[in-house]
Symmetry: C2
Subunit: 225 residues, 2 copies
C-alpha cells in the first residue's frame, strides 16, 4: 500500500469495540492505517496516546480529511454510523425506518445493555472495592452474557425481520455487535446455553471475510494459540 490511507485507527487486539470498527471497515472495503495500543502494558495512558485521545480509550479514529476537526472519532457505534454515512454501500443499515430502528435496537441490546458490564474497568472495580474473587467475577460475566444473549435470542427467534442475518439477508450493525460479544466470550471461555439462532447467525457471519479477518486472534499483539 503506497497510497496514504484516509484513516488512522488506534486499537487493541482483544477489545470488543475495536473489533466492531474493524468489521465495519472491512465490510465497506476501506483500509485504515492501524496503530496498536497495548492496553495490557498501559500504553493508553502514555503521553503520546493521550495527545491523540485525552480519554485514553480505544477505538480512536483519526480522519485525515476532517478539515478543522482535530478530535478523534470515538465510540464504536458512533464510528459505525459515521462509516455508514460516509460510505453508503454496502449498507450496514436497512433502507426503511422501521428496519433501521430494529437493527439499532438489537445492536444497542449488545453494545449498551451487555458489553459495558463486562469491561476491564468493571472487573477492576469488582475485584478490588467489590471484593469479588475470580469465581464471583466469572459468575458475573456469565450472568450478563447470558442475560443479553438470551434476550437477543428471544427476539431473533420470534421476530419476522430476522433472516440469514439478524435483519434480513445481509449483515448489519446488529450482526457486528452480536459478533463482537461472541468473540469476547470465546476469549474468556464462557458459554451461554439455548441460543441457537444467535449461534447460527454467528456462523454465517464468520463465513464472511469481513468478520473472519477481524477476529481478535488474527490481530497484531494477540497471543499465539
Amino acid at each position: 500500500m503506497t497510497q496514504t490511507s484516509r484513516f488512522e485507527q488506534f486499537s487493541f487486539w482483544r477489545t470488543s469495540a475495536t473489533y466492531r470498527v474493524r468489521v465495519g471497515f472491512n465490510l465497506k472495503g476501506v483500509q485504515p492505517e492501524e496503530h496498536y495500543v497495548n492496553l495490557d502494558a498501559g500504553e493508553q495512558r502514555s503521553e503520546a496516546f493521550l495527545r491523540i485521545n485525552p480519554l485514553g480509550a480505544v477505538p480512536a479514529l483519526i480522519d485525515r480529511e476532517a478539515g478543522q476537526s482535530t478530535i478523534p472519532l470515538t465510540q464504536s457505534v458512533a464510528i459505525l454510523e459515521f462509516l455508514e454515512e460516509t460510505y453508503s454501500t454496502p449498507a450496514m443499515l436497512p433502507q426503511d425506518e422501521h428496519g433501521r430502528a430494529r437493527v439499532r435496537s438489537l445492536a444497542t441490546m449488545l453494545a449498551a445493555d451487555t458489553h459495558p458490564l463486562i469491561t476491564p474497568r468493571v472487573k477492576k472495580y469488582l475485584t478490588t472495592a467489590g471484593n469479588f474473587d475470580e469465581v464471583a467475577w466469572r459468575a458475573w460475566q456469565t450472568h450478563w452474557f447470558g442475560t443479553g444473549l438470551q434476550a437477543l435470542e428471544q427476539r431473533l427467534a420470534n421476530e419476522t425481520g430476522t433472516g440469514t442475518f439478524c435483519h434480513g439477508d445481509t449483515p448489519t450493525m446488529a450482526d457486528i455487535c452480536l459478533a463482537s460479544i461472541i468473540v469476547v466470550m470465546r476469549t474468556f471461555k464462557i458459554e451461554v446455553a439455548d441460543i441457537p439462532t444467535v449461534q447460527r447467525i454467528m456462523a454465517t457471519c464468520e463465513q464472511l471475510d469481513a468478520f473472519a479477518k477481524a477476529d481478535p486472534g488474527r490481530q497484531f499483539g494477540a497471543p499465539k494459540s
Copy 2:
C-alpha cells in the same frame, strides 16, 4: 385531544431511558399517547405488557403507521434516531458528518458507558449475589456517575464543538442523554464534583419546555414531593 395519536408510548416516571424518549418527542412537538407501566409493582412482567414487549422493558413505542411491523420500537437511542429520521426539524443531530459523529459519541458515553451500570437489574445482582450492602451500592453508583460525567466534562470543556449545548447552540441527542443521567442522579441524591460545563449545559437544557416537562417528578406515578 380528539385526534388519535400516531404513537403509543409505554413508560415509567423514574426511568432514564423513557425520559430520553419523552424529551425527544417534546423537541419534535409530537405527542404520543402515554401508558404508565408501574415497574415498582412489577407490571412490566404482566401478561398484558408482555404481549406488547416480550422482553418486559420500557420504553416501548407502538407506531400505528408501521404497517406490517407488529413489534414495538425499543431502546431509547434507537427511538431517538427513528424520531430524527421521521421528523427532520428541529434537528437533534448536526448536519455535518463529523458533528454527527461527535454528538453520537458524547451520547454513547452516557447511554452506554454510564447508564447501564446503575440500572435496577444491576442493583439487584450486586445486592444479592454480589453481597453489596446499601453503602457499597451507593459507592458503586457514585463511582460510575462520577467516572462518566467527569470524562464528559473533560471533553465538553476542551473541545471546540461545545457551545451553549453539548454541540453548538441547539439541543442534540447528547444533551438528552446528559440530562437523562443528571435527573436520575438527583433521584438518588448523588452529587458529582468538578463538572461545571456539564452543570451549565444542564441548566440551559432545563430552561427549555421540552426538558422541563419531561422531568421525572412531573410524570404520572411520581411521588408528591
